[in-house]
Every structure is written in structure tokens, then in C-alpha cells.
């Protein structure tokens, strides 16, 4: 039983990892960023490339990927998103285009492949990130087998969630973000630099995607379209949890991850996925604002 729960927990942690950044960019800022998966992918490539050229291990790649994805997110905000606040569907469409562009840039090695220049670690092929061996060797504590890499992901996810909670609810920056979230005009009237705060918030959410990318790279293939399949799951989690509610996102990922895990063990993975989608549809129909939405809306 504990093993099943652990499988569910590790599924939950992956969902949360993706959804955490989205709960910031979508939940707090009303941007449906379809390129979020590509920010995840960029994080993963950062880990691969820094491994090849800087010989950096996973742990140092985490902050680096955060910075790289955050920088890309910042650029994305300034070039595209900034013009689209309040037009949620347009953010979806524009970032869909951005996602195509980012994927293709990695595939074409930023266009250098046209000139016959190849960068190791980029291109259309499959890449991989080295994981320190002590993270892949399971061990036992008091007869309970521990899977170090999964546990590491869970640990990082918990820390990131706490950090995000702290930033959002215990710092003045977080207060400003939440003010903007509820009413940008009034926030601006109160002297909050809405543009700057929005840009930083978006960059932070993007940076979280970068960290997710590094951790994902530890157990799945790194390739240009690796992020595309994850982003939809992330959105489902955020919506089920309730847009704008960090707690909701955490609980929704826990719920959906456990449902997936339990059904996967009891029946099979395919049925489990189908059940998860069914549950998502039912929850949104039942509570369109999600499980933990603001009351004020």
C-alpha cells in the first residue's frame, strides 16, 4: 500500500512541478502560456548543455536552468505577453506560436544548422542528462526501500512550493502580485509598478518551469517537443485546483496523481489516464472555478 501511495506521490510531484509555474503565470497573471512546456524543455536543455560544456552536475544545473528559463520568460513577457494582458485566449494563441518557434529553434540549433554549424547537445536528436549515481541507486532504511531520485524530486517540489508560498504570502513583492491578480487598475493606482512586477512574476513562473525541466531530464528523454505533452496536464491541475490558489494547485496535483497511481496499479496506465481526464471533466463541471477558487470573484 505504501508503495502505491509513493507511486501516486511521485506522479503528484511531477504534476505539481509543472503546475507550480503555471499557477503563477496562469493563476496569478491570467496568461495561458502554451509555451510553458517549452520553458520546461529549455530547462532540460540547459542541464544537458551545461553538463557537456561546463561539466556541471544536476545540482548546479538547477539554479542555472532557473535563470535561463526565467530570462527566456522575461523576454517572452516583454515581447509578447505584455501586449496581451486581459485577453486570455489571445495569450493562448500567441504563446502557441511561440512554442512552435522555440521548439524549432532548438531543433535547428538556433538556425546555425542552416550554415552547417552543429552544437553538441542541440538539434533534433535525443539528449540525456547525467544523473549522479548515488541518486539512481536505491537503498533501504529500516526495511523500506527508498528510491533516491523520486524522493529528490519530491523534496525539491516541496521546497519550491514552500518558497513560492513564502514569496507570494510573506513578502511585499508577493502582496503586490496578489493585488495585481485581483485588480490591476487599483493596484496601479496604489502605486504598484504593475509592469515591472508582472514581468518579474512571469519570469519567476518561467524559472520554475526551468527547474522542472532539469528534474524531468533525469528520467525522461530530452528532446525539442518534450514539454508539449506536459503542459496540458499542468493546466488541468491548475484549473481543477482553482485558478489563483496555490493550495488548490497542490491539492489538485496530489489528488490527480494519487488517482492516476492507484488506477495504474489496480488496472492499467491507459485506463488510469482516462479516469484522470474523466475526473477533471467532472470536477470542472461540478465546480467550474475549481476546488479552491477565490470567493471574491
Amino acid at each position: 500500500m505504501s508503495e502505491i501511495l509513493f507511486i501516486g506521490l511521485s506522479l503528484s510531484s511531477i504534476l505539481l512541478l509543472i503546475a507550480l509555474g503555471l499557477s503563477i503565470t496562469y493563476g496569478a497573471m491570467g496568461v495561458i502560456n502554451m509555451a510553458h512546456g517549452e520553458l520546461v524543455m529549455i530547462g532540460a536543455y540547459t542541464a544537458v548543455i551545461s553538463g557537456i560544456y561546463l561539466n556541471i552536475n544536476l545540482f548546479l544545473a538547477l539554479p542555472l536552468a532557473f535563470l535561463v528559463s526565467a530570462a527566456v520568460g522575461l523576454a517572452l513577457e516583454k515581447l509578447v505577453i505584455r501586449r496581451l494582458y486581459g485577453r486570455i485566449i489571445d495569450t493562448l494563441l500567441a504563446t502557441w506560436g511561440v512554442a512552435i518557434v522555440l521548439q524549432q529553434l532548438i531543433r535547428l540549433e538556433f538556425g546555425l544548422s542552416f550554415f552547417g554549424i552543429h552544437i553538441e547537445g542541440l538539434g533534433p536528436g535525443l539528449q540525456n542528462m547525467n544523473v549522479p549515481s548515488f541518486l539512481t541507486q536505491p537503498f533501504e532504511i529500516g526495511g523500506i526501500p527508498i528510491q533516491p531520485y523520486r524522493s529528490f524530486i519530491i523534496l525539491v517540489t516541496v521546497l519550491l512550493t514552500l518558497l513560492t508560498w513564502f514569496l507570494m504570502y510573506r513578502t511585499s513583492m508577493g502582496t503586490q502580485v496578489r493585488a495585481i491578480m485581483r485588480n490591476p487598475q487599483i493596484a496601479a493606482a496604489c502605486g504598484i509598478d504593475v509592469k515591472r512586477v508582472s514581468a518579474f512574476t512571469f519570469a519567476y513562473g518561467s524559472g520554475l518551469a526551468g527547474i522542472a525541466g532539469v528534474l524531468l531530464a533525469g528520467f525522461k528523454t530530452v528532446m525539442p517537443d518534450m514539454g508539449a505533452s506536459t503542459v496540458v496536464d499542468g493546466f488541468l491541475v491548475v484549473v481543477v485546483g482553482g485558478v489563483g490558489s496555490l493550495l488548490g494547485t497542490v491539492l489538485a496535483s496530489a489528488l490527480l496523481g494519487q488517482i492516476n497511481g492507484i488506477f495504474a496499479i489496480l488496472t492499467n496506465d491507459i485506463l488510469a489516464r482516462a479516469v484522470v481526464f474523466g475526473v477533471v471533466i467532472a470536477i470542472i463541471l461540478w465546480r467550474p472555478r475549481g476546488l479552491f477558487a477565490f470567493k471574491s470573484r
Partner: protein, 415 residues
């Protein structure tokens, strides 16, 4: 069919003649001294990871043939199209190549889904398609030459070898959820029973899925002593990594795979596969001068000194040479002539001698088993002495003395 093609020709002729209108976008005709062929792989999208290498191998073969004087003195001119990893696009590009460009042959595609999407174009327009990938069998088309392995060429020595040599008897069969892995499982089960083994489970995961926690946990608890993997694509990487992360090792519980090639091994990191096995007719590790030279030429062709070669890539390469020989024998490059002339063609490919079966247009290949090392290269530990006859209907009782698919077509009464 015939009457329709005629009426179709009549209609277009009538329009052309009656109106004498110039075509907006005229079809192209090959220049004299050139033979145009289609090269249809995904240059973009998820499948481009592997398909680009197949396209490269095809183009390399064309370049080598042209450098050696071409076919009957004519240069081969490839028309490269992008299938974009999407069956809809594949279908559209195939009809462009066949109907608009009027090439006599198209080399292409990796997945069964894309082959299935282009097949109607080739069969209804009576054109030729050269398909380089191992696939599930169960096809008997007069318009396709299959140069990849069919299940009996991957499994007929693999399963007995696992049972007799490795001494493993309890199989956990796992695959991606589509036809190829399911057909492989079906053939495996027949072979397992024949050789006194048993299978404890037969499980599938969505194609492209990368969450293996539950499945590996099931494997752990199943009491199996060998895993037969028909997992395809990038899922493979996640599978092997999760396998190790959950503490399973290939020396106790080996993964024996039918799809895990050099590409996936390189992508997952060699340490995750070290000790596991794969069955294919071709490995990069085949230690012959021909293969070493092939790898050398491929690497310089794509400008990547670390590029890996693999089974479908090698087939993509040698099938162009088989085609060339057929055109030379026929003396003309029309689909019908190519089909007749390709029958029985033999070529010394990097993996050894390959021959096109005159009955079902599949290819005789030599099954091999390799064990992966920590360097990411396979060591060939078992190989057939000679190429094995392809039998696309082996799961339904096809045998050399009882062929289902012959030059006359499929005898469906035997199914």
C-alpha cells in the same frame, strides 16, 4: 479499379482538351538523364528525431550511386518532402510525390501509422513504396517493398535463446499501446509456449508516455525473471531509467528488447541499459570492414563524428541499392517494371547479404542478438548463420511451406 482509373484519366483529359486552360500549377517532368524519386520522412515534429537520420541515409545512398555513375547512366534526383510527424501530412505529401511529381518510387516513413496513411495512395495509383522499418507484418501489398524486419526475423531466435541460453522462463511482456507491440507480443507468446516458457503479464502503456513508476512496480511484483520489451520511441528512455531507479538490474532481471536501438541507448545514457539485450538484424557494432566503412561514410555525410547507425537507418541505406539494381535489370523506371525486377534482388548490405523475397516483397535478413555494454555499444553474442525468410503472417500460422502472401496476393482463406 481499372474502369475508375480510366474514367479518372478521361475526366482530366476532357477538361484539359475542352478548355485548353493552362494548369495553374503544372506538374513537373523530370529532366532528361534524371530519375526522380521521393524521399518522405519527418523533417519536423517529434518523429524527426529518428526519421531525419533515415532521410540522411537514403540521401547518402543516392549520392553514392550518383557518384558511381547513376542508374543506367541517369542520375537519381531525390525530391525530399516533410511528413511532419503527422499522418495527415504524410498522406498529402505522398499524393504530391505520386500524382503531381509522378515519381516511380518513394522511399519513406518510420511508423506504421504513417505507412498506413500513405498506403492508399500507392495502391490505388499503382506506385512503389520502399519502407525501411521493422514492423508488425500482416501486410501483403504489391506496392510496397519492406526492407525492415518482421516479427519472425526478430523473435524466432530471440525467444528460444532467452529460454535456453539465458535460462529465463517467466516473461513479463510490455509494450507501447499500438499494433506493432501487440503483434510482437502475440508472436512471442506462441514462441514462449513452444519452447516451454510462460508469460506472467502482457501490459501496455500509451505511446510517448514517460511515467513508468506503476508499471515497473508491477514488474517487480510479478515474479517474472525476464522482461520482453516492445516499448517504442522516447518512452524507452524513461522505462530503462525507471527500471534502474527502482533498483532492478539487468543481470538478475534482464530487459530483452525488440525496439531499443543505438539511438535510444545513446539517449538514455549507457549505464541504464548496460547488461540488457536487443534483437535486430543490424547493430552498429557489427564487426565487418563493410560496416565500419559504412559508419565512417555516414558520419562524414552528416558531419557528425559521433552519429550512431541503427537497423532502420541501415535498411534505408541498402534499399536504395536494391532499387537501383532493379531499375538496372528492368531497364526502365516504372513502378510495374521495378516491382517485377526487385524480386530476388540481392545486395551486400553493411549487415551482410540481403535478398528481396520474390513472393511477398519483404527482405531476407539475419537476426542478431546484442548485449549492451557500458560504452553504449552492443556486443553481438548470437547470430543466425544465414538470412531468415520473412514471414509477415507468422502469427497466424504462416510457415515456409505454407505461405499466405505470395506474388499472386494474399490468400485470405488461410487466415
Amino acid at each position: 479499379m481499372k474502369s475508375n482509373r480510366r474514367s479518372f484519366l478521361k475526366t482530366s483529359a476532357a477538361f484539359g482538351a475542352a478548355l485548353a486552360a493552362p494548369s495553374l500549377i503544372p506538374g513537373r517532368a523530370a529532366a532528361a538523364g534524371e530519375i526522380e524519386v521521393g524521399v518522405l520522412f519527418s523533417q519536423t515534429g517529434g518523429l524527426s528525431i529518428i526519421e531525419k537520420s533515415l532521410a540522411d541515409a537514403t540521401l547518402m545512398a543516392i549520392e553514392e550511386i550518383n557518384a558511381a555513375g547513376g542508374v543506367n547512366g541517369m542520375m537519381i534526383k531525390p525530391i525530399v518532402e516533410d511528413g511532419a510527424s503527422d499522418p495527415k501530412t504524410y498522406n498529402e505529401k505522398a499524393s504530391k510525390l505520386v500524382i503531381r511529381d509522378r515519381v516511380p518510387t518513394v522511399f519513406g516513413s518510420y511508423t506504421s501509422a504513417s505507412r498506413k496513411a500513405v498506403l492508399p495512395v500507392f495502391e490505388k495509383r499503382n506506385n512503389m513504396y520502399f519502407y525501411p522499418t521493422y514492423y508488425e507484418g500482416f501486410e501483403c501489398s504489391k506496392n510496397v517493398v519492406y526492407t525492415g524486419a518482421v516479427p519472425n526475423q526478430q523473435l524466432s531466435n530471440f525467444v528460444p535463446w532467452i529460454i535456453n541460453t539465458l535460462g529465463k522462463k517467466k516473461f513479463f511482456i510490455v509494450g507501447s499501446n499500438y499494433i506493432y507491440p501487440r503483434e510482437m507480443a502475440k508472436v512471442s507468446k506462441i514462441l514462449i509456449e513452444q519452447h516451454g516458457g510462460e508469460y506472467v503479464a502482457d501490459e501496455y502503456l500509451e505511446l510517448g508516455h514517460s511515467e513508468w513508476g506503476a508499471m515497473v512496480s508491477k514488474i517487480k511484483d510479478s515474479g517474472c525473471d525476464v522482461v520482453l520489451s516492445n516499448v517504442v520511441g522516447d518512452s524507452v528512455v524513461a522505462f530503462y531509467r525507471e527500471f534502474k531507479n527502482q533498483g532492478l538490474t539487468h543481470d538478475v532481471l534482464p530487459i530483452c528488447a525488440t525496439v531499443t536501438s543505438e539511438i535510444e541507448i545513446a539517449a538514455m545514457g549507457a549505464e541504464f541499459a548496460a547488461g540488457s539485450y536487443t534483437s535486430f538484424p543490424y547493430f552498429q557494432a557489427i564487426d565487418t570492414p563493410e560496416n565500419k566503412s559504412f559508419i565512417e561514410r555516414y558520419r562524414s555525410f552528416v558531419g557528425d563524428p559521433k552519429a550512431v547507425t541503427h537497423h532502420a537507418l541501415e535498411s534505408s541505406y541498402f534499399q536504395v541499392f536494391l532499387w537501383k539494381q532493379a531499375v538496372e535489370k528492368a531497364g526502365e523506371a516504372t513502378p510495374d517494371a521495378i516491382r517485377e525486377a526487385i524480386k530476388g534482388q540481392t545486395f551486400d548490405a553493411p549487415n551482410g547479404k540481403v535478398t528481396v523475397d520474390p513472393e511477398n516483397l519483404h527482405t531476407y535478413l539475419t537476426p542478431r542478438i546484442a548485449q549492451w555494454g557500458a560504452d553504449g555499444q552492443g556486443t553481438i553474442i548470437e547470430a543466425y548463420d544465414e538470412p531468415v525468410q520473412p514471414m509477415p503472417y507468422v502469427a497466424y500460422g504462416e510457415a515456409p511451406e505454407n505461405l499466405f502472401c505470395t506474388a499472386g496476393g494474399l490468400d485470405s482463406s488461410k487466415l
